[in-house]
Symmetry: C2
Subunit: 272 residues, 2 copies
């Protein structure tokens, strides 16, 4: 069964998009077929993969959510083998308000994915959902469609503050909409090894997760991934070329770290 992973954190600028793009690329290099869905109106994942949704006139995620367009029609290939994407456009920013009165507005993506899976051409092993910096309707659609959540976190104080609210939201979706939703783990991004702040925040977070072990919450078996994604300017440069790190700087720390993260993510396969 394909894994549906939502990359979330309502704190802005913590590495969600960078992780979605480069984790996808590392999984694809290992032979996994990856489908990406960009749920952020900023469309940064779409840009990162060098895709221009306006170029071919096909529907985008906005059309799928607000106009019942078929998800299969919105999926495009990318320059990376084994990666396809359903791109976003800025129109998506209006979706939350446009869908206020729509019945079942939180599960529109889940249902669109169900029709996609009926199409043998559309087979994939991993679905990665890049989310905007909020816990609104778009993120709720991702959580309703996901089998697991990866929390991207910059090891800074402000970023840590929102984790409680984030887990509360995951808990509500698991309770009311998607019973199979679990937290797969926390990915530490933009890790500055030379600072004591990173170590302190990591320790705080590890304690928090340890305390919820065995308490039957969706995050009760979540851990911090051993691989930290180190701060590395090449990761910030590659989106301007529409490339992933393995195309732009295959020997960099960024490429090494995302390859190792993918190994940890793949090692969880079958643990269902």
């Amino acid at each position: 069964l394909p894994r549906h992973i939502a990359l979330i954190n309502q704190k802005g600028g913590v590495g969600k998009t960078t992780t979605t793009a480069n984790l996808a690329a590392a999984l694809a290099r290992a032979g996994r077929r990856v489908l990406l869905v960009d749920l952020d109106p900023q469309s940064h994942l779409t840009m990162h993969l060098g895709v221009d949704p306006a170029a071919d006139g096909k529907p985008t995620i906005y059309d799928v959510l607000t106009d019942n367009a078929a998800l299969a029609e919105a999926v495009r290939p990318t320059a990376v083998e084994n990666i396809r994407i359903a791109p976003a456009t800025i129109d998506l920013a209006a979706a939350e308000v446009e869908l206020v009165g729509v019945v079942g507005r939180e599960v529109l993506l889940r249902d669109a994915l169900a029709t996609l899976r009926a199409d043998p051409e559309a087979a994939y092993d991993y679905l990665l959902l890049d989310c905007p910096p909020s816990l609104g309707l778009l993120t709720l659609n991702a959580l309703s469609a996901a089998t697991e959540v990866l929390i991207c976190l910059q090891p800074h104080f402000l970023a840590l503050q929102g984790v409680g609210k984030l887990l509360e939201t995951v808990g509500l979706v698991a309770q009311r909409i998607n019973a199979s939703l679990t937290v797969g783990g926390v990915v530490l991004c933009m890790y500055d090894f030379g600072t004591k702040l990173a170590g302190e925040v990591t320790a705080d977070l590890a304690n928090f997760l340890a305390e919820s072990r065995g308490k039957g919450q969706p995050w009760s078996s979540a851990e911090i991934f051993k691989t930290c994604i180190r701060r590395n300017i090449k990761l910030a440069e590659c989106p301007s070329f529409g490339q992933v790190i393995f195309q732009y700087a295959p020997g960099s720390h960024g490429a090494q770290d995302y390859a190792k993260l993918a190994d940890e993510v793949m090692a969880m396969e079958g643990a269902g």
Copy 2:
């Protein structure tokens, strides 16, 4: 007349909150009376100033916008002389949807500020509005209430992409709601001097602004502030103590940079 400055960028994690807190502190050190309004449901500005909105039972910004509470009631002192704050709570996340049908929902804050100004006790020289990472209703309230906008920008490719849409939104608010709104300037945050990316993004942005000179847009006289805020871990550490940089590390680069930025901002006084 007091200056009303909105710190905006829909891109997450670019330094909006850090700049609001520390620019306010530098202005306060220079004797300016500063009022802060936290418009982000994450309430990071509120935390940064060590304020706990639940401690005193007074109304918050959420109550002002959705329940007609008096802004004067929501304003609290902070540990920093000359700085007061109207704090946010997570409830604010519901405001956008709760206010969908309300007439004039975009100018609720502007009108609340008008009643505050009638109160002689509440006099201030600067109002700084910290915005969430979106161009939704909360940011629109800030733009409708502001006299000028400071765009906080991390000199990265992804952060640069949204500037066009940001200026488009500022232009619409200036055209339809707030004719006096202008873009005061762009503050470069988390500047890594050792990378070529920062230089390239800065040059791109400077060209863009130069091309709009004299075209009668709200940003036609905007410049990039000469002061770059250098990346400095002390700026990421101080919020965990509920302190601004001048309390936590007065000799740091962070303190120097924000003091210099405040000098540039104050030098614009009277230019209105």
